[in-house]
Amino acid sequence: MIKTINVNKSYRGSVHALRDVSIDIAKGEFVFLVGPSGSGKSTFIRLMLREETPTSGEIYVAGKNIGQLASWKVPMLRRNIGCVFQDFKLLPNKTVFENVGFALQVIGRSKDVIAKQVPEILDLVGLGSKSHHLPDELSGGEQQRVSIARAFVNRPQILLADEPTGNLDPATSVDIMKLLDRINRTGTTVLMATHDHAIVDAMRRRVIELEGGIVVRDQERGVYGYGAQV
């Protein structure tokens, strides 16, 4: 589902964000991307979304070589990828329903489709009763659920989550992880960048660790780090 071959990314000023990264993630996997700040996690996620292109190497997402993707095809790529962020990125002047519906609206889905799919997904994330609330009226965990609903409402093949629990307390984080796990069980590939040792250690999923832009570990059923200091 996601495959990178010897991917390098350097920025002007010769900062090497990623070096020789080769990763192969199969359809339906749940993968943690771990490593300290500046290790290249966010760069990796930006490359998946083609917000940036690699300096060298090849990236395949959902079977397409996205390094060579024409820029007008990028929107189609992104319709296959759901995104969740630490800061939720919800629109404060839209209700929960409108925030989720917005993702369908801007890719040209009809009102009927929106009216049918949005309540379904809100039920899935457990916010069926709050669809007319504004984001401000929700807790952080609820806001992140809305953001996950928005990412998943279009049933993408891949869900990218960049520090989705970074702003949440441990109990809420566990709920969010349960939700992501459920989404993963529907066959969606989940790639989650995180700092959260407890979560990684508890989930026991595949762990890819980056350090200084290099893959230093790729382990099935891993924990956050061998000598992880807590």
Partner: protein, 296 residues
């Protein structure tokens, strides 16, 4: 259909989200368009005027009373030989007098008191093919003055000369001013849309993340720019329609001879041009603005 609805509402919301800025740019665009309309109308008017006058341009030579007929005929032949001259008419002084009486009869401000004597002279009236040749032909004829045939040369076409100068100045000056106003209008629209884009930058970020196409992101802003342009065009058109009568009257009085009125066709052309320019400037400015934002 749903898309059109979305684009339309978003554009209108964008316009009213920052009414001061939107109205300021509408005003600027309107002003620019007004200038454009004025320029087009004046240019067209002056061109017509020059055309009318050019077809009428005449030089007149007054002949000495005692000039010999054979000399006059020879002079006439030599004038006719000039390719710039289209026609030469011999006007005896009686005919000149009759004409004067005729003119006086039509105008209450001139009265001919005494018609018993005729102080006028015989003359040759010379019609030119092009107004710009008038000074040269007149100069060559002036050399004949005092040689016994020609007593005086009247070259009327100073009016034409003036008009030609005005037309040229207006064309260059008008174009220059118009170009500057165009840049100002474009600048204001680019900034208005930039503010609109900035106000919706979070929305745009999310739109791009969930796979909205660039065109889907652009259209509401382009439409908003066009809306600003169109409102400016409506304002400018209204001003033109209200002011056209009085201004035209003043111009006719000012240049006197010009029996000018613009036809229906020209009015539609004018309004059409104004709206076309408005939409182009509005849409184009917005496009530049959004493109800059999306390229970031």
């Amino acid at each position: 259909m749903r898309r059109l609805e979305y684009i339309g509402t978003t554009a209108a919301q964008g316009f009213w989200r920052n009414p001061v800025m939107s109205l300021a740019s509408t005003f600027t665009v309107g002003l620019m368009l007004l200038l454009f309309a004025f320029f087009l109308a004046t240019d067209r008017g002056l061109q017509a005027a020059v055309g009318v006058l050019e077809s009428k341009v005449e030089l007149a030579i007054f002949l000495e009373d005692n000039a010999r007929v054979s000399d006059v005929l020879a002079l006439r032949a030599s004038i006719e030989a000039d390719p710039a001259v289209s026609r030469v008419d011999y006007i005896p002084k009686d005919q000149a007098m009759a004409r004067l009486v005729d003119i006086a009869a039509k105008r209450p401000d001139i009265q001919i008191v005494d018609t018993s004597s005729n102080p006028l002279q015989d003359s040759l009236e010379i019609k030119l093919a092009h107004a710009q040749d008038a000074p040269r032909v007149a100069a060559s004829l002036r050399e004949e003055v005092g040689k016994g045939i020609v007593s005086d040369v009247i070259d009327n076409p100073q009016v034409v000369d003036k008009l030609l100068t005005i037309t040229r100045v207006l064309s260059f000056g008008g174009l220059a001013v118009l170009a500057m106003m165009l840049i100002v209008a474009l600048f204001v629209i680019v900034n208005t849309i930039r503010i609109a884009v900035h106000a919706r930058r979070d929305e745009i970020e999310i739109m791009k993340l969930v796979g909205a196409t660039d065109w889907f992101v652009r259209w509401p802003f382009i439409l908003e720019g066009m809306l600003v342009g169109a409102l400016g065009a409506v304002a400018a058109t209204l001003v033109v329609l209200v002011a056209a009568g009085p201004v035209m009257g003043a111009m006719v009085n000012f240049i006197e001879i010009l029996p000018l009125s613009f036809g229906q066709t020209f009015v539609w052309q004018l309004v059409g041009s104004v709206f076309a320019l408005a939409l182009a400037v509005g849409g184009g400015g917005a496009m530049l603005s959004v493109r800059a934002h999306l390229a970031k």
